[in-house]
């Protein structure tokens, strides 16, 4: 070869007609559409792509498949983007990471020269004494450790979404095996989903030689003709979970795939060789060199050394010559010899071992030994590129997650046994390249047969496979050599060397799982893709165990790095709106999110709303309340057993406040219920528990096999509460009903027309005033509401929101379950002891409450007023005694009616009305006094008016 080499033809994925630019560390870089960021940077002469985790050594491109950690960069504010597979876009802002001041000159490189003082596990050994220095260590370590920085200001909003897919056969990987598997399964009659992480089907065929193009095209056109096959490109599967659930990600989309059969064809990958300075920029996996040239049209170097044996390495030598890369030498590892017949025209060194690579910041040459010759007698070979044609190992993360185990046969890793519903084919199963398609087709046919589509071709295919399987050629596998040279990296992600692993084993971490945790090998971004098998081999050798006995570390999802935003992708969460939503909207309501509902918090001035209810009349939308009908011969008995109080003695037409507990005697829900007939009840429950209460009633109805029916009417009915001293005057204008106290007394229920709409009216007093809760069909809610508003105009009727209601009920001392109670609150302690009917033979919570009654409660929910009348503690503040927390404030507001601060709090049971206690708020202890409840209208004259 003479003169400068010809430029390479454009890469398979690039479009030279569409040039674009992006910036890298403020420098403008030209690129063409379809290139990856890293390929464009490499073409622009960038060689250092990142700095290593611990020693800050310069790292260059290495795998080009998105497996290794060498090309992680910050792209448009997103840290740790694998730039070797990330497509370049116009105007992108790309920055290096883990380096200061720049990737080329990194101050912390000093750690590389201090490596002797930073042995394996140094942070466990160095940083624990003297103890007082730990905060300093922690500050420094936290600043240095970690990979990539999240800039919360520039983080792009990710609109991630979830999609559910269902199929009969799912094929993971669209290489030769995967394409054949999908075709086979579809021909047999199965519905097939084919997932490929690259932008194109073809797998490793795309990288190797342009000769494969025709073969790929044929397969693709056969697949696209097949109606039963759905193909998803740029979709990488990162987990296999129980129930044959696959998780895959495509950009911002998370796929949850249920497939009855799974065929994994994720192929094989190469792993690095272990020698001194094996991480220098300029050292590539051979497939990386091919991908850089074939896919992106970029030449990795000019003078190369190839290391590796077998047919693949020989083909590679030819391929590199085709790419215009000058082959300086081909190193054949021990165990592989050149046949007399094939004498290539480039120098071949047999029985060669790589000792070290040298160069400052980039590869300048390698030093090798031949056979048994001593290291001192080694040979230098200058070069700017080293291609490691290491033997393929299976990319089997998903299979390991599924529980499959692997063993080595003639250098090939092959699956042990079978896992139900999961098959492997091609490179991932250790099959040699020429049998990939055959095995893929067989597994596809088998998977189809397992879901009931038995093809006549299956038996013939199985025979062909059995014949082919016996012909697979053995692979030459090197074992890690012993050497005293220090920088022989096993784990690139975490900078763990061969020596570190040996030291860790010597220190007693000789189980592969403890060795992993102590040395942190395989725990970096690649998750063992580059080093898992080397770790296994070193561990086996150092402990004198077999590889099978050593085993491998546990594989867990995700198999590839994914954005947390994708995992956090919002599920389907509908917003619930009441039938009066648009009225509130028009009245400029401030919204409050309550258990999925939108509720008006207020219409601007909650204090005025409170005052309207106390002095005139107010109207609130309470459509979100749970509304439940229970009917049947056993309805009364069911409620007797569920609620704490009596329900069978309630007379038809009357209403009652009821509370229910769970089996442990903990407050569960409360609400007002009414008896409509001898076998018919109408119950309300809190908004947040609407689902749970219906399920609870239904569970026990079913368990006790009672003849009753439970129906939720929450969405079917709207409800509104008309409350205030003038409520009767307003309602009388709209309702066809005698509203006099004698005809419609407090705590009773009536059915009547309001504004011509059939309604159910409950006379109750949650807010402590004369009030009517009006329940009507949702579709007519607007009419009723509007009529009441019009009728109330002359009485100064004001709509009020949740905030005003909270103040009003607090003045009245009514508790809200969930707000004023928690998972430890019992009715006896919450001031509801008057309600518990211990005379009933059985109800949920009877026994635990009985025991508590005998023992006596330890704390109590009480009302309090602050000594300083206008001081309102924050809800959640602690009640303290002698610096110890003994309770907490659950509700607190300034009462516009009583013109003072008041609230509810849990305090020790021994405190009585008039006693003083202290609330800790912003580190000050503020006095408060236990007050009698209710604060407002203690005789209850107003609700009964």
């Amino acid at each position: 070869v003479s003169g400068p080499p010809q430029p390479l033809p454009p890469g398979r994925w690039t479009d030279p007609a569409r040039p674009l630019t992006f910036t890298f560390n403020r420098r403008t870089i030209p690129a063409v559409a379809g290139q990856s960021i890293a390929a464009a940077l490499y073409a622009a002469g960038i060689r250092v792509f990142s700095r290593s985790f611990k020693y800050h050594r310069p790292r260059g491109l290495f795998c080009l498949t998105g497996d290794c950690p060498n090309c992680l960069m910050n792209v448009d504010g997103r840290p740790n983007v694998r730039t070797c597979i990330e497509p370049v876009r116009d105007g992108q802002v790309v920055c290096g990471q883990n380096a200061w001041p720049s990737l080329r000159w990194d101050v912390l490189r000093v750690f590389d020269w201090l490596h002797a003082w930073l042995p394996v596990g140094f942070y466990y050994k160095r940083f624990h004494k003297p103890r007082w220095l730990w905060p300093v260590f922690e500050y420094v370590v936290r600043r240095i450790a970690g990979l990539g920085r999240i800039d919360t200001r520039s983080m792009p909003a990710v609109a991630a979404s979830v999609e559910h897919l269902h199929t009969e056969v799912c094929v993971v990987g669209g290489g030769p095996a995967g394409m054949a598997a999908a075709l086979g399964a579809a021909e047999a009659g199965a519905r097939v989903l084919l997932l490929e992480r690259q932008p194109e089907l073809g797998g490793h065929l795309l990288d190797e030689s342009p000769d494969h193009s025709a073969r790929i095209e044929t397969q693709i056109s056969a697949l696209t003709k097949e109606q039963r096959v759905q193909i998803l490109l740029q979709t990488s599967v990162f987990g296999i979970y129980e129930g044959s659930l696959l998780a895959a990600v495509c950009g911002d989309r998370l796929f949850k795939i249920r497939s009855r059969q799974i065929v994994v064809c994720t192929g094989a990958r190469q792993q690095p060789e272990v020698f001194h300075n094996n991480d220098l920029p300029g050292i590539f996996l051979s497939r990386g060199v091919q991908r850089l040239a074939r896919l992106y049209g970029v030449r990795a170097g000019h003078r190369t050394v190839v290391y590796g044996g077998g047919q693949t390495a020989r083909q590679l030598s030819q391929d590199l010559t085709d790419l215009g890369i000058d082959l300086v030498a081909h190193l054949l590892p021990p165990g592989d010899a050149l046949a007399a017949a094939d004498r290539p025209d480039h120098p071949v060194w047999e029985n060669a071992t790589l000792v070290k690579a040298y160069g400052h910041g980039r590869l300048q040459g390698v030093r090798i030994t031949m056979g048994t010759v001593a290291v001192s007698a080694s040979t230098h070979i200058p070069c700017d590129l080293l291609c490691l044609a290491t033997p393929p190992v299976p990319a089997n993360e998903l299979l390991l997650q599924a529980g499959m185990r692997f063993h080595q046969v003639q250098g090939r890793w092959q699956p042990d046994g079978e896992i139900q519903g999961v098959r492997a084919a091609g490179g991932v199963a250790g099959t040699s390249a020429k049998a990939h398609a055959l095995e893929g087709r067989l597994r596809g046919l088998e998977a189809a047969a397992a879901v009931g589509h038995v093809s006549p071709a299956l038996e013939e295919c199985r025979r062909q496979w059995q014949a082919a399987a016996s012909e697979s050629e053995p692979l030459v596998v090197a074992t890690p050599e012993q050497s005293s040279l220090p920088k022989r990296f096993i784990c690139f992600c975490e900078d763990v060397t061969h020596k570190d692993l040996l030291n860790a084993v010597a220190e007693g971490f000789d189980h592969i799982e403890t060795l992993k945790r102590y040395s942190t090998a395989t725990m970096g971004p690649c998750q063992g893709k580059m080093c898992g098998l080397a770790l296994r081999a070193v561990c086996a050798l150092a402990t004198g165990r077999t590889s099978a006995h050593t085993g491998s570390t546990t594989a867990r999802p995700p198999a590839r790095p994914i954005d947390l935003a994708v995992l956090a992708a919002d599920r389907f969460r509908p917003v619930r709106r009441t039938p009066l939503h648009h009225w509130h909207q028009a009245a400029s309501a401030r919204w409050l999110d309550a258990s999925g509902w939108k509720r008006p918090e207020s219409y601007g001035d909650p204090t005025a709303e409170v005052s309207a209810v106390r002095n005139g009349v107010g109207l609130i939308d309470v459509s979100t309340l749970a509304k439940i009908e229970v009917f049947g011969p056993d309805a009364a008995e069911l409620l007797e057993r569920i609620y704490l109080n009596h329900w069978s003695d309630l007379k038809p037409g009357r209403a009652r406040y009821g509370v229910m507990c769970n089996e442990d005697g903990i407050l569960f829900d409360d609400g007002v219920g009414a008896r409509l007939g001898s076998e018919r009840y109408y119950l309300t429950a809190t908004t947040g528990n609407a689902e749970a209460v219906v399920q609870w009633l239904e569970l026990w109805r079913t368990t006790w096999r009672q003849n009753a029916t439970v129906i939720s009417r929450t969405s079917a009915l709207a409800a509104m509460n008309l409350a205030g001293p003038r409520a009767r005057e307003v309602l009388s204008q709209a309702a066809a009903l005698d509203l006099s106290p004698a005809a419609f007394p407090y705590m009773s229920v009536r059915e009547a027309e309001v504004a011509g709409v059939p309604c159910r009216l409950l006379r109750i007093g949650f807010v402590g005033e004369l009030g009517y809760e009006i329940h009507c069909p949702s579709g007519h809610a607007w009419t009723v509401w509007h009529t009441l508003c019009e009728a109330g105009e002359e009485f100064g009727l004001k709509p009020f929101g949740v905030e005003a209601q909270r103040v009003l009920r607090l003045e009245k001392g009514h508790l809200i379950i969930g707000q004023d109670s928690d998972a430890l609150s019992t009715p006896l302690e919450a001031g509801l002891d008057w309600l518990v009917a211990f005379d009933k033979p059985s109800f949920h919570g009877r026994e635990p409450l009985n025991r508590l009654r005998e023992r006596g409660p330890r704390s109590r929910l009480i009302g309090f007023t602050a000594v300083q009348e206008d001081w309102v503690p924050e809800e959640g503040c602690q009640v303290v005694e002698e610096n110890q927390p003994v309770g907490r404030v659950t509700s607190a507001r300034f009462s516009p009616t009583l013109q003072r601060s008041l609230g509810l709090a849990w305090v020790p049971a021994r405190l009585n009305v008039g006693d003083q206690f202290f609330i800790r708020c912003h580190e000050a202890d503020v006095p408060a006094i236990v007050a009698p409840l209710p604060f407002y209208d203690p005789e209850g004259k107003r609700v009964k008016a």
Binding site: E242, E663, L699, R705
Partner: protein, 79 residues
């Protein structure tokens, strides 16, 4: 947890459609709350098909493998 459960009404569905409600214990006369055994092996459980027919089921499941052995209506659960 992503196994599949078979609802007698709706057919085989993802477990996420259901609510788990503990071991199936003898029907309560509501005296002392009975305690579950929570032992490895097969267990009878109560499940509610929340995003389906909204009915209560009983399920026999192997706690070690999440293999679902039997499902049926809670009313018809063996006592």
């Amino acid at each position: 947890m992503s196994f599949l459960l078979s609802c007698p009404n709706c057919g085989t569905r993802e477990v996420a459609e259901f609510r788990y409600a503990g071991e199936l214990l003898r029907p309560l006369a509501t005296t002392v709350p009975p305690q579950g055994a929570n032992l490895p092996g097969r267990q009878r459980e109560r499940w509610f098909h929340r995003f389906g027919c909204r009915r209560w089921l009983w399920v026999e499941r192997d706690l070690r493998s999440n293999e679902v052995v039997t499902t049926g209506w809670l009313e018809e659960a063996p006592s």
